[in-house]
């Protein structure tokens, strides 16, 4: 099992690579062999514009990967890069998901801490995950989708799609690598999509 991590340069990948190792997966960071990987993860903490510029450099590879049904997972900012745009910056996103990232208002920002996954929909990725399971969030912008692709929602001032899915592309707004056993299970489910 080889996972290709697309590092947009501002992320701390230690926790994620530790989690992948725990699951017995090997990984390559910014591999030139993106299309030979079994799965692709776009992690991300940091500023939108810097990350968007970098992700657009591999846009065509990612679109090829989608047509080859290689599962792709965007985590936190990585999920927001899958959208068309973000209020945080001027750069365009990948536009794989219809919608944009918008800033929270009327609540404490950033949204930091453990929050629940609600309205879980059945999917391979949510197998074994119970309604209202806690996962760990750290973000100031949330995905506002213009299509009905949410597999789970989370409420913080507003209700947003904390897990979204289109074809074989997934977005997690929380950090599975920081979310204890629930997070590890979600990552494991993601890795099991590829075969």
């Amino acid at each position: 099992m080889l996972v290709a991590l697309v590092d947009t340069g501002v992320s701390n990948l230690t926790s994620l690579t530790n989690a992948l190792s725990r699951l017995g997966a090997s990984y390559e960071i910014n591999s030139s062999k993106l299309l030979e990987a079994n799965a692709i993860i776009i992690p991300g903490v940091g500023s939108y514009d810097a990350a968007a510029k970098k992700i657009n450099l591999v846009r065509n590879f990612l679109l090829d990967a989608i047509s080859k049904e290689i599962p792709i997972l965007g985590i936190c900012l990585g999920y927001q890069l899958l959208l068309e745009s973000s209020e945080e910056g001027k750069e365009k996103g990948l536009g794989i998901f219809k919608g944009k990232a918008v800033k929270f208002s009327g609540v404490k920002v950033p949204h930091i801490g453990w929050n629940t996954l609600e309205n879980l929909k059945e999917d391979k990725i949510t197998e074994g995950i119970k309604e209202n399971s806690y996962v760990y969030f750290v973000h100031s912008y949330y995905p506002l989708l213009e299509e009905d692709i949410a597999l789970a929602k989370t409420t913080y001032g507003v209700s947003f799609a904390s897990i979204a899915k289109k074809k074989t592309v997934y977005g997690f707004q929380f950090h599975p690598e920081k979310s204890g056993t629930v997070g590890l299970k979600l990552l494991e489910n993601f890795l099991r999509l590829s075969k």
Partner: protein
């Protein structure tokens, strides 16, 4: 719904946890990595490691500690104590810590807060404020609570938010280690003026203390002795809080 966080704090001196730790399950009660793993399994929402040795070697000790802790736990953790520059912070974050906590550095060089938050994001920057009651208000102390600064806590809390802090770790020096409960008055004063999460600290001795501080709106509560001495387990406190209607992760 967002849950209230319970955060055990580990004071580390020369790579060992200090402040008597009594757990039968541990082979070496002073080993921070072993203790981190235990607390994580018991339901801690996050962990904080504070280096109190302030020795020249402390930076490399904390970098190594970050690396080792990141290998065994899958919840967020913060590292603080003796961070003197953006470089120090970078090393610690690069080795697996999610957040760094600064106190003396923030007071001596307030620009460092902005530098750190633009570099790593505000979510990675916790500003620790050590507060002591003094004639009607609270004063900020630095160097591990030994040096008064003349700065008012409420004014400083507002300023660190403006400068880009992602969270405030607010410790009452008066209550620390007393088991008398969190300083509710102090915590409320700070909660009232900032719009970033506030972690209350100092004085937790009983489950009721957590309830008190969450009821006035604290986002998280930090505690050390109550857990290290084995008086209450994290799960017990969370079960009590849940019964009282507080949102916790169980």
């Amino acid at each position: 719904m967002l849950s209230k966080r319970i955060i055990p704090c580990l004071d580390v001196d020369k790579g060992k946890v200090v402040k008597g730790v009594k757990f039968k399950e541990l082979k070496d009660a002073g080993n921070p990595v072993e203790l981190a793993s235990l607390y994580s399994n018991e339901g801690a929402d996050e962990l904080v490691f504070l280096d109190i040795s302030a020795s020249l070697e402390n930076r490399s000790t904390m970098v190594n500690l970050s690396k080792e802790v990141a290998k065994v736990i899958d919840i967020p953790f913060t590292v603080g104590g003796g961070i003197k520059s953006v470089e120090d912070a970078r090393e610690i974050l690069r080795n697996g810590a999610d957040k760094i906590s600064i106190n003396t550095l923030a007071v001596k060089n307030p620009n460092s807060i902005k530098e750190l938050s633009s570099e790593f994001g505000s979510q990675a920057v916790v500003v620790a404020i050590d507060a002591k009651f003094k004639s009607g208000s609270y004063e900020v102390f630095i160097y591990g609570g030994t040096l008064p600064t003349g700065i008012d806590v409420v004014t400083w809390a507002k300023e660190v938010e403006t400068r880009g802090a992602g969270e405030i770790l607010l410790t009452s020096i008066d209550r620390d280690g007393t088991k008398q409960g969190y300083d509710i008055n102090l915590t409320k004063m700070v909660l009232d003026v900032v719009n970033i999460p506030v972690i209350a600290s100092g004085g937790a001795g009983y489950p009721y203390h957590f309830l008190e501080v969450f009821r006035i709106g604290a986002d998280a509560a930090l505690a050390a002795g109550i857990f290290h001495r084995g008086e209450y387990r994290i799960k017990e406190i969370k079960e009590f809080l849940m019964k009282e209607g507080v949102q916790v992760r169980l």
